[in-house]
Symmetry: D2
Subunit: 424 residues, 4 copies
């Protein structure tokens, strides 16, 4: 299933008058819109293959219908998404949930939707049916070298698959940690993990990066062996120049200042990428920007400022990915909303008067600093994002068109009502 160009054009035509008026107004209000729109067009957010089905909690899962049953269907779903918003031009695979049978066919399918293969994700937080050792007590941290080796080998296998698909990064998220005081020797767990990561690191091809993701808690509830940015940075520094920290917005203790972490990691040259989502309590994996949109904006403020200072390209300098769980919304609608929120935050960050901000900071004019940030945040950036989308063939209103075209109904028609996406 594909969305046809004329379907999008018909939708856009109806929205054209209103949009043109809005965009004209914004163009008068704001200088330099063209440069911003160029950046927006280049900015692509990868979609993880596991975000296309209904997610759940330990208490249950309430499946929606029409979920993708294999890798081909997942690619198709992201293709639909990308056709609508033109900002989701990459897919992030999870092994072993998404092992391709025919690499060329998969690459060609993805390419037909204008999709690239973003960072590969390994899985050592679950036991697979045919596995020799269990990860019940950790993987790369495990006291038993046999378990560690199994996990190392798996990661190297994931790299191999990524190479075949044209990816160039490995994201390692470890559930490793402990549930009770005394369970682990923290230093021992760290050292084991480091040694394991070193073996994986050694297997990285040139030009590849490894992202070491941190998480404060869950599924372990006492300690986590890559628990915060400080720990991740320690690993990444000890590993070498290809190793970076990956920030998932939901992986922090309550009240953490994530934007400061982002800034400092950029300073150290060790920020690798992002997992976007939102949360109120823990790793709630909610739609990006649905709970704390101002925080998302402040993070992009640091990203834009820090990447510009480092001369990094916004689109390619870091790995951009969504990592969310769609428990009560249609996964594709949820993703449309996430991408839109990210694009808006990025746009608003681009609207900040950097020169004025710097000057106000130099004068400790705190009230003015706030005025400058809020000035950008309070600006209605929707017409700008929409303009960028329209120029690249996307839909004026992706979620509306998704509904008008009855895409979910058609997916249910072809895939069935009682479906569970692979890996969920």
């Amino acid at each position: 299933m594909r969305i046809e160009k004329d379907q999008i054009e018909a939708h856009n035509e109806l929205a054209a008058v209103k949009h043109k008026r809005k965009f004209a107004f914004m163009s008068e209000e704001i200088e330099g819109l063209e440069g911003i729109i160029e950046k927006l067009i280049k900015f692509q957010i990868a979609i993880p293959s596991w975000a296309l089905g209904t997610g759940g909690t330990r208490f249950g899962r309430f499946s929606g219908g029409g979920e993708p049953g294999n890798l081909e269907e997942k690619i198709q779903d992201i293709g639909l998404l990308h056709a609508l918003n033109r900002s989701s031009g990459a897919i992030s695979l999870h092994i072993p949930w998404d092992i391709p049978t025919d690499y060329d066919a998969i690459k060609s399918l993805a390419s037909s939707y204008d999709l690239k293969f973003d960072a590969m994700n390994s899985n050592t937080f679950q036991d697979q049916a045919d596995q020799a050792y269990s990860y019940k007590f950790g993987s790369l941290q495990h006291v038993d070298k046999g378990v560690r080796q199994q996990a190392i080998d798996h990661n190297i296998e994931v790299i191999r698959q990524g190479v075949a698909l044209g990816s160039s990064a490995l994201t390692v998220w470890l559930a490793d940690g402990s549930c009770f005081p005394g369970q682990l020797n923290f230093r021992g767990a760290f050292q084991n993990t480091l040694e394991s990561l070193e073996e994986i690191y050694a297997a990285l091809p040139d030009e590849w990066k490894i992202f070491v993701e941190y998480k404060a808690f869950e599924p372990n509830f006492y300690s986590t062996t890559v628990g915060d940015w400080g720990q991740s940075l320690l690993y990444a520094t000890k590993l070498g120049p290809k190793a970076y920290t990956l920030v998932d917005l939901g992986h922090h203790l309550p009240n953490a200042n994530i934007e400061q972490i982002v800034s400092l990691l950029l300073m150290e040259g060790k920020l690798g990428g992002f997992h976007f989502n939102d949360s109120k309590y823990g790793d709630d994996d909610l739609t990006a920007g649905s709970m704390k949109p101002y925080q998302l904006f402040l993070i992009f403020n640091e990203l834009v400022e820090g990447m510009d200072a480092k001369g990094m390209d916004h689109a390619t300098g870091l790995g951009w990915m969504i990592d969310a769980s769609h428990n009560v919304k249609d996964p594709l609608e949820d993703l449309i909303q996430s991408v839109e929120a990210i694009m808006l935050a990025y746009t608003q960050a681009l609207l900040i008067d950097r020169k004025a901000l710097l000057a106000a900071q130099q004068e400790n004019d705190v009230a003015k600093c706030q005025e400058i940030l809020q000035d950008a945040f309070r600006t209605d950036a929707r017409a700008i994002v929409q303009e960028a989308r329209l120029r690249t063939g996307g839909a004026a209103n992706p979620i509306q068109l998704f509904r008008e075209l009855k895409i979910r109904e058609k997916l249910i028609g072809s895939r069935g009502l009682k479906t569970v996406a692979t890996g969920l």
Copy 2:
């Protein structure tokens, strides 16, 4: 010191063209703006007398200059504020910091600035020089009836003073609680507090309300005797129909859903009023809307919906007050920013398509519910608030005019550089 009408007009004239264009655009975009503007004009937020000087922490205070040295100067400061934004038409006094010597003169002064006397605040969290008993171990909760009686008498005296000034509400914030396990018998402390409040309640004139404020922690660091909305509601229910709960946004445990509390208190007919501020960690008392503007919007969403459902008048149905501490900003600039943020959140809440939201909720269309809320929040509401301000004689850009007129410099000139506002 007063801001003259022609000073405001001169400022507004310069801003007129740009504003008119913006407001014309908004008027085309949004239906029913006139009704919203009417509501904005009526909506007034009380300024507490203690928010006019530089605040501090237990580690120190860095005074600014030109702070008001007495009640007359505090009224003058709020007068300046109200002249600029026309939304700060009330003052909330704190006894014993603000005991008037001549009630008629004070009332007449306030009236000359178009200011009313909002809720009175008592103080039993500090010892005054001439006090018989100490509040070191609590006031209304104290194991010693002598201490309780002293605190009761003080509250009744505050009511008396409020009557003389034309106020009609008493806000009771208690620091009562304990710092260590075992220090208090929780039930005993609750019962003592309840009995004390009953005596104060009995002294309330007809038409008066008493607001029982809750706070999770600080200055007590183990337990608080009015610690959360549940406890406050228990007191308010046991006291009677004149007793209400007061919500201060900074008085909750991490991650609390304040908007739900607001909704339920409205449901029970026991929401009395608000202390606006913002925070990241605890009772940080930061500028309203500076940290979590979406939360502020969600709270106003509940207020508008709930008050409308109850047939309550937005402007007069609840007590609206700022309670912040200005540690690093000019207090008046900080207050301008707080009021602006509150007005924007209120406006955006008024923009919500209630009918569509209700319908989406009935269909569990979660994505659409979010679209509807975000649609309102993403709207740039500044021109609407500005229009309301202009129509009532306020300044196009209050903080800018405050600076253009060099008000702080003039206050320093007349009051001096090394100043500490009474009570700070």
Copy 3:
């Protein structure tokens, strides 16, 4: 499988000398030990039927072996536990996971292990295969009366089953809430839930109680319709005298003072029962006393003091239950540890010098209050709990005997290695 009396006696004999010396020492140190031991003997903690298998998280589950495959085997497991510690003489069933086929046989089986049927638990947080309506968007709160009625009927059916088994309480834990701002009308959800609970309440037999459990978050991540003790108390009060609040230790926001909540609920006559577990981050469902043993002691301090003040019998005045998830430990060993920690905390609370504490509180002698509590907490209470266990035929060291008898190995032998307890 049963543990034979002579197996326990053989184990105890080996431990006798050491224990006698310890207990003799404690008897000299502490007055009134006999009264305490009497209370300990009567104190029984119910085991939930779902705590006998390995638990998991949304990320995975690492099953242990020998898990019970049906209700009979679950009763057997608790029988083993109770034989070892003599403090686990009740089972709490979960419907529909534990629907008996032959009530008399089940009752007789339980009775053969000296087990009673504690509170019944309904389940409206998952969809069952044959269900007409889905609980994806809530159950008792649902906007659709059809869904609500289905959930009401289920609860009434659970009561019916409880009656058949000799239970006398229904615990209602609702996952109802919302994941995103705007999804719910909070007041509407509350009112729907209240009306639903009223129908269930009306179906309660005489002498039955209904426990309304609250939880701050998970599986919903924005709001919960019974989210805190204040909301639960509102429901319980509106429902009537048979309705009570149930406190699960893991269901609070960070830093909540649970012991104060316990005290106030007792004051209001509305505390119904407990779900014991421990946690660091959220509803981690860890072994009771494994993370914050002092908090557990402080809670028992309030329970003992408050129940004594109300003339309530410790053993029967409230519902005592464990609610934990055993992700990395043998479930039976984990339960042994939980029960032991609870008994120790209860014992230490009984050791508190109440008269001295009251006197110190009256004098605001905070340091002394702390000394008195710590005096009890720092006492090694293990010999006292052991003595109570020995007197009633339990094992000197339950976990050690469990291992010596190779109970888990035998369960694996009879039930198999790859098992999943029903409901997990």
Copy 4:
């Protein structure tokens, strides 16, 4: 004022019979007590000079009486403390609150009480009367080099004073940070702070250490420029081998796993020292061990294990200090309680069966790991600590003797009732 040897002996004689019985019992129960007692005797905890008066919050302070009015009296107070518990043999000074006028006299006075001079503390979080620049917007981070230089010079002056007194460490706690988004350029603030610290570091004599303390929030409420262990470690690593991280137990986000941080800092060779206190919500500065005694034990578990693994001497390998605020207790009683709690936690950590724990960890026997830790924690260690105290001439029950000797009353007699310790 001094406590005489015969006063202590008289007190101890009365307690002797009971203690001997207890200690004899413990000696039979536990092997190797003598080695533990030796370690306890050597273990000394420094008392900060600012902890001898009544502390307060931003809301108020309720002074007790007899507080020390100058450095000599502070030394006297710690002398009293040390005479009672023999574990408080060091004082930590705060400049400019404690600038000596005669170094030899002060050293001789301290020596007469058997006290050493521990780490020196600088103060750049408050403005002093004669200061050229204000620290309102930070000190070492400040955008203005003039302010930074003033703060650098102050720290170098503190080192100079420390040299004169025989101290060998400087603790730098910075309040630097920001209250609002946008106020700071995070990287700029970090770089400025680093450069400033480098200048201070260059002024350190041989054998001196610098401790970089981190704190998550307060008095700044948005960001802190040394905000967590990761940031502190970055500074310490960049500075060089004399720079270490200092851990204050109250300076973390909610739910932080402090013991893991301790373990990792030891691993990196960068743990410098401790500020002991306890807390429930933030930097509550409560008596050590009063809120979370198990956490304190777990921290000592890591310290003992990690220091032993590194071959560090427990007594001298790290800086041990209390940092608390005594708002509602007699400061000296509060300190006695803190020291006792620390000694108990240390003792219990020494009681852990390390060999068994290591073995259980190697087997992932989580239940047993917990048993081993709880076995030590549940042991009543009071007689052991008391024995160590008695052997070095301390009091059987310090707090009781403090009261029997009416020390506070005598201090009030000599110093007066209305007192405020310098610096508070």
